[in-house]
Symmetry: C2
Subunit: 112 residues, 2 copies
């Protein structure tokens, strides 16, 4: 059997590194669902805690910092009174939402 | 700010579990690139080892078993002589290829 080598394969180490980075971030429990929840609009800390059933406040805080560090969400302080804090997707985070939806659909259909 | 709760969010724990499962599998180094390589067609063990620069034979063997266990690739023995073994994507594996391509494109554009 002849195998035709796709030239794109030779770019694969860089592609693989980007994918590994993406999976490292998104593979952490709650990160996908947090992004999915924020896809519906900006939300405060308490709102996110209620929407994401089972997450503790400390883990929620940690994940929000991580997602901010990766540039996927932003934290905006709205001057009060009372001062409120809202989290929302950045354009990079928004761009991920349809891809996550496709990956979730694939996983539900193909992984048990 | 009023937040409209998307009813889909309440299905999210199941979605999240499927995504976490997907990320657990695909987040492992080499799995994405192995699936990408097999997207070009069936390949033998040695061919895969050459296509995926940097992978050791023992890690390659381990990943192939894992991807077979997840139902994403199949291993076919072709009667010889000489007997040859080829790995190829299952329909589940094929279905993942365009999603991985989208995720890779997103990661390259949005993660540094």
């Amino acid at each position: 059997m002849e195998k035709i080598v796709n030239p794109e394969v030779h770019d694969a180490p860089a592609c693989d590194a980007a994918l590994v980075h993406a999976f490292g971030l998104l593979g952490k429990r709650w990160n996908g669902i947090l992004l999915g929840t924020l896809a519906d609009g900006a939300a405060g800390f308490a709102e996110l805690g209620r929407a994401v059933v089972g997450i503790s406040d400390s883990v929620l805080a940690e994940r929000l910092v991580e997602l901010q560090g990766a540039g996927l969400i932003s934290r905006q302080v709205e001057p009060g009174p009372p001062v409120t804090v809202a989290y929302q997707l950045t354009p990079s985070g928004e761009a991920l939402v349809p891809v996550l939806a496709q990956l979730g659909a694939w996983a539900r259909a193909n992984l048990v």
